[in-house]
């Protein structure tokens, strides 16, 4: 009586394995197509970023930071941090990391914002998706790193895939929240003037949810950045791989340099996207 009864055991592991096997055997073509699409986007971005002369990137980041934060010294500081990354000798690796993050974020937004809209419009969809989003955020990432590897093989594509799974929940949640927070009286007014549901969405709900969505974009970007080291374990080159190698070889200084570069990238991206989000606030 003290032992857990045997007949109550659920062989979930076996089921998952069976589903994986079936998926790999029958839907391989679909995964290949998805993989190619992800790779196409990623390589495009990566080549572009590596092609851009470093000085152009530094000036561009400086100017954008200055414009959105409205502080001249903030622009100068962000540019200086970027120069610091280059001075450690990690410019190209940093650009590769930025490429993976950018690709992951673009795909996350393309999937996440429409999903958030669907959730906001239907209580059923919301209650169905919420546990799934919780699972995506709490499930240890190694658990889906392996299946990602099996579907897409080694390299950048499974890294982007795993990053999306980890990073997409915030933008979905905050799009949903933002739309639901739009004052009911404003939506009612739009209805009373004969807006179609499409017009209500694009003329009223999305513009008013924009501050919240921008916070979601900021969060998603930060989460994507947090995945770079883990993603490097399945072969994504970039700063993460550098950290991983340094750990394996117990090169503390090298690991610290690469780690610091990730932190600097995080600061630059966070401050800029955060300032963009803050600028979207309307006085009610």
């Amino acid at each position: 009586m003290l032992e857990f009864p045997e007949f109550l055991q659920v062989p979930l592991a076996g089921w998952v394995d069976a589903v994986m096997g079936w998926l790999l055997a029958n839907l391989g073509g679909i995964f290949d197509a998805i993989g190619h699409a992800i790779l196409f986007i990623l390589l495009y971005i990566e080549r572009f970023l590596l092609w851009l002369p470093w000085i152009v990137v530094v000036v561009l980041v400086g100017v954008v930071a200055w414009r959105v934060m409205r502080l001249w010294w903030a622009g100068l500081l962000m540019a200086a941090l970027l120069v610091l990354i280059g001075s450690f000798g990690y410019w190209d690796l940093a650009m590769m990391t930025v490429a993976i993050i950018t690709a992951s974020v673009i795909i996350s937004l393309a999937l996440g914002i429409p999903t958030g809209i669907l959730m906001a419009r239907s209580n059923f969809v919301e209650s169905a998706l919420k546990p799934l989003l919780d699972a995506m955020q709490t499930m240890p990432s190694f658990v889906y790193l392996i299946p990602a590897l099996m579907f897409f093989g080694l390299g950048k594509v499974p890294a982007v895939f795993a990053t999306i799974i980890y990073a997409v929940p915030p933008v979905i949640r905050l799009t949903d929240l933002g739309i639901r927070q739009v004052s009911q009286s404003v939506v009612e007014a739009a209805q009373a003037f004969g807006s179609s549901s499409r017009q209500i969405l694009f003329e009223v709900q999305l513009p008013l949810a924009l501050p919240s969505i921008m916070v979601g974009i900021n969060q998603t970007t930060m989460m994507a950045l947090a995945m770079v080291v883990i993603a490097s374990m399945i072969g994504a080159r970039g700063l993460g791989l550098e950290v991983l190698l340094a750990i394996n070889r117990i090169e503390v200084g090298r690991g610290f340099e690469a780690g610091l570069c990730i932190v600097l990238l995080a600061i630059i991206i966070d401050r800029i996207t955060h300032a963009m989000a803050a600028r979207q606030q309307y006085a009610a």
């Binding site: 009286s185 404003v186 009612e188 007014a189 739009a190 209805q191 009373a192 003037f193 004969g194 807006s195 179609s196 017009q199 003329e203 009223v204 513009p207 008013l208 309307y282 006085a283 009610a284």
Partner: protein, 412 residues
């Protein structure tokens, strides 16, 4: 339909018939059980349903300003929303220009909201991310009107509500009164046939509120819309309404002109409402005017007129044309003077500077007129024809009687 007489013209614009709204999980079943006649509180306690409207029927005529008055929770806001189906009624019919709105599909409904009606909200319902001009032009935008055209129209309406120069500001930078002007401009921009106003002035301070009410009345003179106006303020209802429907616990308990509501409250609830309303602001000349004993006609000579007055024992009388158009007041003294001076036209005996009023002049406005003359005040219709006269004594009597009604009401 009773009380149609007082509305500007006869055509029915909105017809609401046996409308019910019950919130809860199974309102239809409740409606077909004997619970339908239970009180609102009983329904809530025994079935968990909230009764918002019970068997509401009324008509609003074209060009009429129809006021729905009731305290909060009386169902008045639900009612006005049901007309646009922003809230779906549980049962009943709503006809707008003879068409059953309840049978409309989505696109017909959008069409109704775009072209026939506009709504003004208590909390303004302005779009905080759009400038004043974009707010005002919104109704035209959803209709698909080109930018230049809708901006031109919006500027016109913004000027009409007195906000010229504020076009590019965001609503949050405006005061409450100005924001509601934007709300009114937005509603007028589409030139709707029907305006639905849900407590539009309740959120404004009293001074601004009175000013906005006056402006609404002026505007109504100009545009002649059919207006359904919801309020919890009896003074506002009495001031604005051609007719008033009083709601309590989801039902209409009285429909009538402001005067009928004041003089013959249908039950204790209405009487209590009416108690603090000053009758001087509501009673009109038509309710206290009398028909004169004698009228003089323009073709009468001075001597004939003098004889008429003497035989009827009067000191003065009004002189009218063949079509009863008022010419003025003739007194015995003046007649005698004219006859002595060998005059032969009765018009020479007219008293100068005669104050006049119309049938809907309120008693409050009659006081200064009565003070300025020692003769009765003639009541004229819109074409200047004589319809009756008001005596200073009846003005005073009307005030005393009202006081008595009030004291009677307090006794039980």
């Amino acid at each position: 339909m009773k009380n149609n007489a007082s509305s500007p013209n006869g055509e029915v614009c909105i017809e609401v018939n046996a409308l019910w709204k019950i919130f809860g999980h199974n309102p239809k079943q409740l409606l077909h059980s004997e619970m339908r006649s239970a009180t609102k509180a009983d329904i809530l306690e025994k079935t968990g349903h909230v009764l918002a409207m019970r068997d509401i029927s009324f008509n609003v005529n074209q060009g009429e300003l129809f006021v729905i008055m009731g305290l909060s929770g009386s169902g008045k806001s639900t009612l006005v929303r049901c007309i646009l189906r922003l809230i779906e009624p549980t049962a009943g019919k709503i006809l707008v220009n003879g068409d059953d709105v309840c049978s409309y599909d989505e696109s017909q409904l959008i069409d109704l909201r775009r072209h026939t009606t506009s709504m003004i909200f208590q909390h303004f319902g302005l779009f905080p991310h759009r400038s004043v001009i974009d707010n005002v032009a919104y109704g035209l935008k959803v209709r698909g009107v080109a930018k230049e055209e809708r901006y031109a129209r919006a500027r016109e309406v913004i000027a009409k509500v007195g906000l010229k120069g504020w076009e590019s500001y965001l609503p949050s930078t405006l005061s409450g009164g100005m924001q509601q002007r934007v709300g009114i401009a937005r509603a007028l921009a589409t030139d709707p046939e029907i305006l639905l106003m849900d407590e539009p002035f309740s959120g404004l301070d009293p001074l601004i509120r009175r000013q906005m009410q006056d402006e609404l009345l002026d505007l109504q003179m100009e545009v002649q819309k059919t207006i359904l106006f919801v309020t919890h303020d009896l003074h506002e209802a009495l001031k604005l309404g051609n007719r008033i429907a009083i709601m309590r616990d989801g039902a209409i308990i009285q429909i009538g002109t402001p005067e009928e509501v004041i003089t013959t409250p249908s039950d204790a609830y209405v009487r209590e409402f009416v108690m603090d309303a000053s009758p001087a602001k509501v009673l009109t000349a038509s309710s206290i005017m009398e028909q004169p004993n004698v009228l003089l006609y323009e073709w009468q000579g001075p001597k004939a007129a003098l004889a008429t007055l003497r035989t009827s024992n009067m000191d003065d009388a009004f002189l009218v044309t063949r079509t009863r158009k008022l010419l003025g007041l003739v007194t015995i003294e003046r007649l005698v003077e004219v006859i002595r001076g060998k005059g032969n036209s009765i018009r020479e005996a007219l008293e100068p500077d005669l104050p006049t009023c119309t049938a809907d002049t309120v008693v409050e406005d009659l006081f200064p007129l009565a003070a300025s003359t020692r003769y009765p005040i003639p009541v004229l219709d819109e074409r200047g024809r004589f319809t009756g006269e008001v005596h200073t004594s009846s003005i005073l009597v009307s005030m005393i009687q009202e006081k008595e009604v009030e004291t009677d009401a307090r006794v039980p």
